[in-house]
């Protein structure tokens, strides 16, 4: 027998393995084994919840009281959210456990890059009855990291059914993080280390407004943020402010509208303590983008930044009078930015394509003020 080439080896392996006659598939045994694995996971998480809840009753009654008895709210904000740090017996990767309206959830991070089907990404999983279905749901996000973060916590917002999941990597000096919800509930998040990264997480109804997030060290407040709450649900933490820093007034205005393939779209700019966000609405497009409060120039698409989006929007310097965007076929679309709250914003429909968005911003004299640089 000689192995002269790869094809020959394949055929020989094929013949060798084809001779194996496995016993009938033990489906019931495998399913039974799977149920045991699932049961172990749940038991471990539940044990963690009980341990932490018991400890919390004796150590921080004031915080529990605030969480358990939210301030009176409008009917739209009647929900109950709790969060606890997972106990010592929790499986690896569990960041937080809690409840939404009495139904349990737990948030788990898989190891970054562990899933070969999503290289370079990290799987964030929410499970439990509050997760809305068997097996919960998950989403792949860039690995949790504080690298490049302008604040003490780098939050990622994930929408999962009727819930929002907020998961964030936490800088080393942060002892705990507080989250104030629209109904007055204050959640206290204690960082846990998952796969070498300190992280916090919580789940809340997507419609729950998050009014403030604050990070504390052992010595006091480090920074706070007023998240942008997207119309329809989910909040983004965009900018962090120093303790005591005055917050910018909230202003909004339409920055673009039109039709794409016969379907209407519109874009509204929202300025406030979070920075600037442009939210799309309408049958043709959903989504949006945010840039921090610190003066920034951006023309990021509302879809995949690596390709030309359907609707592009952005913030440009005050001196800009027009923005030229290059479509996938090379043609250029020009748009005049709109002033909202003293900032220049724009939104325009494009033909989506595979090429990254290219743009140039000009002032009244035709001078290039900013560009995508590509």
């Amino acid at each position: 027998m000689k192995i002269d080439d790869e094809r020959d080896l394949h055929e020989r392996l094929e013949a060798a393995f084809a001779a194996i006659s496995p016993r009938p598939a033990p489906v019931d045994d495998a399913m039974s084994r799977g149920r045991v694995i699932k049961g172990l996971r749940r038991t471990a998480v539940a044990a963690g919840v009980v341990a932490v809840a018991a400890a919390a009753v004796f150590s921080v009654p004031a915080l529990l009281h605030r969480t358990a008895a939210p301030a009176p709210t409008s009917p739209a904000e009647q929900y109950m959210v709790t969060v606890q740090t997972p106990g010592r017996g929790s499986p690896p990767g569990v960041i937080a456990v809690g409840t939404i309206n009495g139904q349990r959830w737990w948030i788990i991070a898989d190891r970054a890059g562990a899933d070969f089907t999503h290289p370079g990404q990290q799987d964030i999983i929410i499970e439990g009855p509050a997760a809305g279905g068997p097996g919960g749901s998950d989403q792949y996000v860039p690995p949790l990291s504080t690298a490049g973060s302008a604040g003490p916590v780098s939050f990622t917002a994930i929408t999962s059914g009727s819930n929002q999941i907020q998961v964030g990597a936490v800088q080393a000096d942060v002892s705990y993080v507080t989250v104030r919800l629209g109904n007055g509930t204050v959640l206290v998040l204690h960082p846990v280390t998952v796969y070498g990264t300190r992280a916090v997480a919580f789940a809340a109804p997507a419609r729950a407004e998050i009014t403030e997030v604050a990070a504390y060290s052992r010595h006091g407040e480090i920074a706070f943020a007023v998240p942008f709450n997207w119309p329809g649900g989910s909040a983004w933490v965009v900018s962090w402010l120093r303790p005591g820093q005055a917050t910018a007034p909230r202003v909004s205005g339409v920055v673009g509208s039109g039709q794409v393939n016969g379907k209407a779209w519109s874009a509204t700019g929202y300025l406030g303590p979070w920075g600037t966000c442009i939210a799309l609405d309408g049958a043709a497009a959903q989504g949006g983008l945010c840039v921090p409060a610190v003066p920034a120039v951006s023309a990021v698409g509302t879809c995949d930044p690596g390709s030309t989006p359907q609707i592009a929007g952005g913030v440009v310097p005050a001196s800009v009078t027009r923005v030229a965007l290059t479509e996938p076929d090379g043609t250029t679309v020009q748009v005049r930015p709109v002033t909202v709250g003293g900032r220049k914003l724009f939104a325009v429909a494009l033909r989506p394509g595979g090429k990254p968005l290219r743009w140039v911003a000009y002032d009244g004299a035709g001078k290039v003020v900013a560009s995508s640089g590509r």
Partner: protein, 172 residues
């Protein structure tokens, strides 16, 4: 899990059980162990079935678990199960020379030769040349770099050629 998901899993396992056992057999060289590994892999897949099916490639997912399960099995048993210089079963069978026995001998010789490779080289050969995975896919399955896959492939092929030529020479 609901009945629809259970039904999907049942169908999937029925269809892919033989292939996964054969993959595990290529990695372990023992049919009993192979079936244990494959069953454990399907059990894990069932525990996360909603997520596995959402991955869009449940076959690749289970294949990955098989590789991991085998690696774990090998780690657990490495104290008692050591690779030896000689294959666990001989390819040299002194019987009347027929086509059937020749085929049998060639199959056993190849399996025996595979067993003389290190676990990673064996996995590379099975994944690359039996499952026809690309180098990046193999690297992902083995949680190593493409460069490692290339070097392990090269060494494994060289070893196999040496061993199989020897077998061939003695049989001829």
């Amino acid at each position: 899990m609901n009945a629809r998901l259970d039904g999907e899993f049942r169908e999937f396992m029925q269809a892919r059980w033989p292939a996964m056992v054969r993959l595990a057999y290529g990695l372990t060289g023992d049919q009993g162990h192979a079936e244990d590994v494959a069953q454990a892999a399907f059990g894990r897949a069932y525990a996360s079935w909603p997520r596995v099916r959402r991955s869009g490639d449940p076959d690749a997912y289970v294949r990955q678990i098989v590789v991991n399960e085998n690696r774990n099995r090998f780690r657990k048993r490495r104290v008692t199960e050591r690779l030896t210089g000689s294959p666990p079963e001989t390819a040299l069978i002194d019987v009347a020379w027929t086509d059937a026995t020749r085929e049998y001998d060639e199959r056993s010789a190849l399996i025996a030769a595979l067993q003389r490779l290190g676990p990673r080289q064996r996995a590379v050969i099975v994944l690359r040349f039996w499952m026809d995975l690309s180098e990046p896919e193999t690297a992902a399955a083995l949680n190593c770099s493409v460069g490692t896959v290339k070097s392990q492939t090269s060494r494994a092929l060289a070893t196999l050629r040496q061993m199989t030529e020897l077998v061939d020479g003695e049989l001829a």
